[in-house]
């Protein structure tokens, strides 16, 4: 597996399968009375969050703690960053403190990549600007695979503000890699012009697509990232692209409704729809911890490097 996980392009289809398979074991750990294993005892994971985040930071923190790693949370406010320290100097400080892995969230696309040039530890992208958010994509893939039994051939629509959505990018790349059939739906102003090059379909009419879906994935309308008015009004957006009760009814039996959170109830998803049994939004959150544990384990659990990636036989010999 790649040393860093900055983008879904850093993972092969086999890597993705391995992350999801290993996450199943961590789901089991999460169901125990004692939800903690000693796998990463003595390792240090730094949560370096320079953009507001609650769920992703807590999820990573819990994942690292359940692996018995030591966790340091480092946020922009009240830190040296607010005193004007550059990203590079902050990174070098974290490096000097011996961080084995740095989980970074930053409002600038590409900052995790920059970080990899300055630190020896593993870098995990927890969302950079409008670029990618690979761990969200992995937990979404896990949830789909667990609920529907497969990824290959799944018909998935990703609906809403694709242009500003790092979730939509990572998830599209991941789904296409795993052989799913992806359709992006939204106002033309919010669909990136290069989207067809991702290997996905683009459609501007949600009602034509909905009856053929396995998964309807709603994106948050990210007003804070929109520097222009991309659509006339929230009410119109809801009428044209929101997941209303009528549209939820038109989804095939057994299909899933997903959302990366936080939701704007009444904008991209109606409040009643978000509470339907086929809406697996809280499950996504639970699975997020297991998937992040899996990724941290696979990245930090190896890397001793004293022996080459040896054959199975040798592993079997060393095991009793």
């Amino acid at each position: 597996m790649n040393r860093h996980v900055l983008s879904m392009h850093d993972l092969t289809a086999d890597d993705v399968t391995r992350v999801l398979d290993t996450a199943e074991s961590f789901r089991e750990v999460g169901s125990r009375v004692i939800k903690k294993v000693p796998a990463l005892r003595g390792r240090t994971v730094v949560n370096f969050f320079l953009e507001n985040s609650t769920r992703t930071r807590i999820s990573f923190e819990l994942a690292a703690k359940r692996l018995s790693a030591d966790v340091i949370n480092f946020a922009a406010g009240g830190s040296s960053v607010s005193k004007g320290e550059s990203l590079k100097d902050t990174a070098l400080t974290l490096q000097a403190m011996g961080a084995d892995a740095i989980v970074i969230r930053h409002s600038s696309s590409g900052s995790p990549l920059q970080l990899t040039g300055w630190v020896d530890g593993h870098v995990l992208n927890a969302g950079d600007g409008t670029h990618e958010h690979p761990t969200q994509a992995l937990l979404d893939l896990y949830t789909m695979r667990e609920r529907l039994g497969r990824l290959e051939g799944l018909r998935v629509a990703i609906v809403g503000d694709v242009l500003h959505s790092r979730v939509a990018r990572s998830l599209s790349f991941g789904l296409v890699k795993m052989g799913a059939d992806v359709t992006l739906i939204g106002p033309p102003t919010l669909i990136p012009p290069d989207a067809p090059a991702w290997g996905v379909h683009v459609n501007y009419d949600i009602d034509g697509v909905i009856p053929k879906l396995d998964v309807c994935y709603m994106l948050r309308v990210q007003r804070e990232r929109q520097r222009l008015e991309y659509f006339p009004s929230v009410r119109e957006y809801n009428r044209l692209f929101g997941l209303t009760a009528t549209r939820a009814d038109a989804l095939p039996e057994g299909s899933l409704i997903m959302h990366p959170g936080p939701m704007n109830r009444g904008v991209e998803i109606d409040s009643d729809v978000a509470d339907l049994p086929q809406a697996v939004i809280e499950e996504q959150v639970t699975n997020g911890i297991a998937v992040r544990m899996s990724l941290l384990y696979l990245l930090l659990g190896g890397g001793g490097g004293s022996e080459p990636a040896a054959g199975r036989d040798e592993v079997e010999v060393l095991r009793d």
């Binding site: 074991s25 004692i34 796998a39 692996l67 036989d313």
Partner: protein
């Protein structure tokens, strides 16, 4: 590496497991309060067979769990790749019960140390016993088995492998001697 020698064949394994099943119920005067926990990836199949045998003898169904010890290993981060993880499933409570850990080969004892640590995360058994199909020596920790299918003197560099029909298509214990006496670890 030279040719593999057959240490135990299918019948040998069947007889050894039948004897161990008798020993387990003899030790605790029955199968009440017993839980068998097999260590993945082969111990769980052996545990299931022991449970079947105990049920045949005593008429008591014994719960069987499977334990993956990967997250409790003491060499995580020392090897190039994170070790592969298998399933863990212990559906019954183990508090105040007699847990028999079951594994295919007992070697350094490090797996058993990890398994005992893992078990304590599931509860507090009244006692933990250990059953293995083959004990090949070379312990690195103060651990011994309560029930042993066969004691086999080996060189540390030898490769002892257990095949079970559920995974490998047939039942056998094979030893492959190292060509040189050089210790590969």
């Amino acid at each position: 590496m030279s040719a593999r020698g057959l240490l135990l064949d299918e019948d040998d394994i069947r007889r050894a497991l039948t004897r161990i099943a008798h020993e387990i119920i003899e030790r605790d005067k029955g199968a009440a309060g017993l839980v068998l926990v097999g260590i993945a990836n082969r111990g769980d199949h052996i545990a299931r067979r022991l449970a079947d045998e105990i049920e045949r003898i005593e008429g008591t169904a014994v719960p069987v769990g499977v334990l993956d010890i990967t997250f409790y290993r003491d060499d995580i981060g020392l090897r190039a790749e994170a070790p592969e993880v298998h399933e863990t499933r212990i559906d019954v409570g183990i508090n105040d019960r007699t847990v028999v850990l079951v594994d295919d080969v007992l070697f350094t004892g490090r797996t058993i140390r990890a398994a005992m640590d893992a078990l304590t995360d599931f509860g507090r058994p009244a006692r933990i016993r250990l059953a293995v199909l083959v004990d090949r020596g070379h312990r690195e920790l103060p651990i011994r088995a309560d029930f042993v299918g066969k004691n086999v003197p080996t060189r540390r560099s030898d490769d002892v492998s257990v095949r079970v029909r559920e995974l490998d298509g047939d039942d056998a214990v094979l030893v492959r001697e190292a060509l040189t006496s050089e210790v590969t670890r």
